[in-house]
Symmetry: C3
Subunit: 252 residues, 3 copies
């Protein structure tokens, strides 16, 4: 982990203000948009099939998050993902709740096959469920430790060609060969909804300015962890964390 | 009202972290998810017909809130509600805006008939509109005092078999025979959107660990009121209330 | 600009608590609802075609915001807009992302033609894109200065009969003949998502109690700017701004 590279990328996000096109869930939209604005990126939320090709064409990165999926939204996700793949734009997939229902696991795989995401970021349960269909997620919160998901992440990276990020007490970033860890952060972050989804959007912001998806993922997870830690140091309750986290992103 | 029982249930929520499946409105989703996480429960928001049976099967409670309903979402609500009824899982119905438009009143009744909710929680206007079609709601805010809705709540409880909760300056919880009141809270809570919706989700969390829907409702309303009161004591403006309320739930 | 008139209108909002029917985007819903509650108005979010006529009939103003549009929602917007026009209720259109994709520009124009909005509020890029199809927006953030959009705003006002509001470092309000400016506010407000959308909802609140759309727009933009400025004076980071802004609206 190279702090100079992180500083360089942070400066690039602020200078270029990459347009991050998010097709994300209703719970996360406001917080993820605010986090992207706070770090210096430019978020747009759009899902209609009618405008996916146009929106992707002006975006620097596409983030697909299946947290509150339905058939119509999946159509938009696939349309956008195919366009981004065709145009060579980075795609981040957040397979929220994979393993909780077959519909989520199958949709995540449909997106992987059709759109070939550059980066897949999930919690331990979600990443494990994509590799081993016996793993069950309890809703959208992880029931597994990230340490136990590293092998699954490596397999997923190898079979899909994506960089895979597991977030947890320790975050793991792997391309199937190299694996890096980030140990910043606080357990209290799991008590604020959409922190994981926002990590995926943050990965999108850094992938929008850094062509290396491995380093972009690493930098995004460092920013999330460091700002989370600083926010918890100010006030260790979850409502305050949500607000202080946005302030820390801005002041970083 | 028994403080020992409240403490026991609060400990159970934190130990078991019940999965609360919310089909709720877009306005409330983020705040309700954060409130459930802050109290120790595990929220999931999901509405697609394709995954309703699977999601309900792993949930401890289902919360149906019609705040931003449309035909497609109502299909998901009915599918989930029937599954929950079949599996004997507690169902909380929040008939947001019943009485404001015929579509809302009719949809609330369709859900009551088809899914037989365990608990119905609304403001005074909404509960009265479900009993007396002459009552008109002004949008989603109550135009009636909760005191005037008690008789309607008793009738609704008797005709549906549900525990009925009216929230207001005084909260009333009734099963048609017994009636309990909760007088905690602050008028400022009506100036923060989704407080009522979040009360319904909180009822879902307690119903997920306490098989007695009357006591579960009572405990949820006590937690809402006490934490609201404490948050207002810290700062009596609505933006701060929203954040401090989440902190108080966590610290309770 | 007349401070006595602003005070009068603010008192009217608080006394009458106008019901503002918002068909707005998922990102803005919670924040806009909270801002309307904080200033004293009564928000309702509803989009289903089935209830548009009924909801509009009890509302004091309709706000149509295309931020996360799709075909089904556009149907609801058009249905509501036609009903509001028929009933002579004020309509505010926020053409979010006009110029970013043809779908957005075309939908904005379809709403203008079919519903004849009373007020159109956008950022500089959006207003310019409605007048000159060569202008491209970068997502939903403005790439133009509001000063450069004044002529486009005047043209748009003249061709549509609407009052046109450009928000930016300087806000401009024009009916095609008269033009007023508001210079309150802070650049930091662009780092909080949905501030513009919330300005449109605020315009709806004031249009709900003041029959003069020019003055209503002016008062709403003054309230937004003054409260934004005061909130930034308390804490100049964006998470805190979001919360302090709501507090300032309430305390104004």
């Amino acid at each position: 982990m190279n702090t100079e590279h992180l500083k360089r990328d942070l400066a690039l996000v602020r200078a270029q203000s990459p347009l991050v096109h998010n097709i994300t869930n209703y719970v996360a939209m406001n917080f993820s948009a605010n986090a992207l604005l706070a770090i210096g990126a430019s978020p747009v939320m759009a899902h209609a099939v009618e405008e996916m090709d146009d929106m992707v064409s002006i975006a620097s990165a596409l983030v697909i998050n299946i947290g509150t999926l339905d058939a119509e939204w999946v159509r938009g996700m696939l349309r956008a993902g195919r366009a981004a793949h065709r145009l060579g734009k980075p795609i981040v997939l957040d397979p929220v709740g994979a393993g909780a229902t077959p519909y989520r696991t199958q949709t995540a795989w449909e997106i992987i096959r059709e759109c070939q995401p550059t980066i897949i970021r999930g919690n331990a349960s979600e990443i494990m469920a994509l590799v081993n269909s016996d793993i069950k997620s309890k809703g959208v919160d992880s029931s597994q430790s990230s340490d136990d998901a590293v092998e699954a992440a490596r397999q997923l990276a190898q079979s899909t060609g994506a960089v895979v990020v597991i977030s947890g007490a320790t975050d793991y970033i792997t391309d199937g060969t190299r694996t890096e860890t980030v140990t910043y952060g606080s357990p209290l972050m799991t008590r604020v909804t959409a922190m994981g989804c926002t990590a995926s959007s943050m990965v999108g912001a850094f992938a929008g300015i850094n062509p290396d998806p491995f380093e972009a993922s690493l930098h995004a997870m460092m920013v999330m962890g460091i700002c989370g830690e600083r926010a918890v140091a100010k006030n260790d309750s979850p409502g305050s964390l949500m607000i202080n986290f946005l302030d820390e992103l801005y002041e970083f």
